[in-house]
């Protein structure tokens, strides 16, 4: 089993989750692991990623790959695949990864399993498990053939990253890109808040309708800053206009998988819980002892979030001193 890992970068920095993908690939294929990175990558970032078990990291640093363009990226990755003939191409189910792999699947007529939380190989048969319905059910999934090219993306924060001994070599691949005029990335407009997307965040603090206003979300942001968390919201809070849609956790928002999820003033609708129940540790703060969220909380504080959250912020600050 030869595995090619797609290593994602944004503005020259390789995503931390690429390490998870390389480590996952090493578990599946032992040493027959290669990486490919599209776009220009900082030397530091490249040096780091070389310690995660790939034989060789290839990069294609064409001008057309500086930002994400689905046509150029698909073309470049296809060329890398043709050159290297892997059995499996593995990526992270990030916004970019999901988009690119779907395009690639149709271009190469290769089966694609997206957002796996488990993956295994036995006798060249690849199987996995994937949450569906935002996590209300877990589907055991597989490919109809045990040979030929197969594509998989894995969910961020699920697989552990392990450094390996030795260092990957690095090679530049030259690829002729189509230079299509059909699609152009003009600019990336920075967000008004956190840089780490909820779907990739390792810590999240979320607020529900009980926050009662957009301004009150500041107490969550202040708390989040102390532990490097991202701020999320329930659908009720989003629909009430207290938070933007990209902050929504749940079935019509984002499915999240952090190591720590703190739910403040969220009662726990079936849609919300589906989207966050796989969080490693769940803390809830709620005045209602009967709120459904308590049933899936590791630690529940029955109390007023306007008292509790600032106290949490103070306690978190003490951790650093």
């Amino acid at each position: 089993m030869k595995v090619l890992v797609f290593i994602e970068q944004r503005e020259g920095k390789i995503k931390q989750h690429a390490k998870e993908a390389l480590s996952c690939a090493s578990l599946l294929a032992s040493s027959d692991v290669y990486g490919v990175c599209l776009g220009k990558v900082d030397a530091d970032s490249l040096a780091q990623i070389k310690r995660y078990g790939a034989q060789t990291i290839y990069s294609i640093s064409d001008e057309g790959l500086l930002g994400y363009n689905c046509l150029n990226y698909a073309q470049a990755l296809c060329e890398a695949i043709k050159n290297l003939s892997p059995d499996l191409v593995l990526g992270i189910a990030s916004p970019l990864g999901k988009d690119l792999f779907a395009r690639l699947s149709a271009r190469l007529e290769a089966g694609l399993l997206t957002d796996l939380v488990e993956v295994s190989v036995s006798n060249s048969q690849i199987k996995g498990a994937k949450p569906m319905y935002a996590g209300k059910t877990l589907a055991q999934v597989g490919f109809s053939s045990d040979s030929g090219l197969r594509l998989v993306t894995i969910r961020p924060n699920v697989f552990e990253a392990h450094e390996k001994s030795g260092e990957s070599s690095h090679e530049e691949l030259k690829v002729a890109l189509p230079g299509s005029e059909d699609l152009k990335l003009l600019e990336i407009i920075k967000g008004s808040h956190q840089e780490t997307d909820l779907a990739e965040a390792s810590r999240i603090i979320s607020g529900g309708r009980a926050l009662a206003s957009e301004a009150n979300f500041k107490i969550l942001r202040d708390c989040a800053l102390t532990i490097g968390a991202s701020v999320g919201a329930s659908r009720a809070a989003v629909d009430s206009g207290y938070a933007s849609h990209d902050m929504q956790v749940g079935q019509t928002g984002k499915t999240v998988n952090p190591s720590l999820y703190i739910a403040c003033g969220i009662s726990g609708s079936i849609q919300h819980m589906a989207g966050m129940r796989t969080s490693k540790v769940i803390v809830s703060v709620n005045t209602d002892e009967e709120a459904p969220i308590l049933a899936i909380s590791d630690y529940a504080i029955v109390g007023d979030l306007f008292q509790v959250v600032p106290l949490l912020t103070e306690e978190f600050k003490k951790l650093h001193s």
């Binding site: 994400y68 970019l96 779907a102 152009k184 990335l185 920075k190 808040h193 019509t252 630690y299 008292q307």
Partner: protein, 263 residues
Amino acid sequence: MKIVVLIKKTPNTEAKIEPTPDGKSLNFASVKFITNPYDEFAVEEAIKVATQVGNSEVVAVSFSDDAAKDLVLKALAMGADRGLIIGNEGLENLDSLAIAKVLAKVCQDEKADLIFCGKQGIDDDNMHVGVMVAELLGRPHINVVSKLEVQGQEATVFREIEGGQLEKYKVKLPAVIGASKSLNVPRYTSLPGIMKAKKKPLDKKTVDDIGLNKASLLAVSKTQVLAYTLPKAKPAGKVFKGKPPEVMVAEVVKLLRQEAKVL
């Protein structure tokens, strides 16, 4: 301008999703089906663009069973001009790529200038089909779109990515646009709209009618669900109540460090 909007039938978001006893499929006996919520934003945007550019036709397409008729009628009641259901009898378990082949063929036959779909189905959560349709048509796609401005045969499109950032693209049509929730607010269907919808053309075709065949679609399908399971139940956690908030908070933070080891 010819606009095609792709709609999918999904269980409603409140639905309990439970595997059948053999785990081979899901028990939908008491589940109410709706238009995939993201597809409603797609329908709304299709109608908005059609109104704005004028001289346009919006075709609502679903690859589904007869129950999709209600979904297509709803799109017609919102303002789509024509409906088309491609029956999926015997093809219910096709994977995304095979489904995309069917829908791409429809878009090709319709000579669509612009194709809308939801950013993802809320059932299998894949984000596959719209992107695959674009690739099969050899055209660009932009998924998770929060804003769209059509200017002649081009469009300026904003795509939501991580951390609340937006990628701003210029795209030449035809293209596939995957709608995010922040794209618009879908209109309500009015009673006159519903009455009118019943008089609008709604065709039903088989895959053979559009020049494909079941056997080759089944052969193209390369992934499958082997079994469904429920997520593991969480053991009961610790509840802190009736003490001063500062005491409860201190205890929980201590446990987060020492027991859960997440801080």
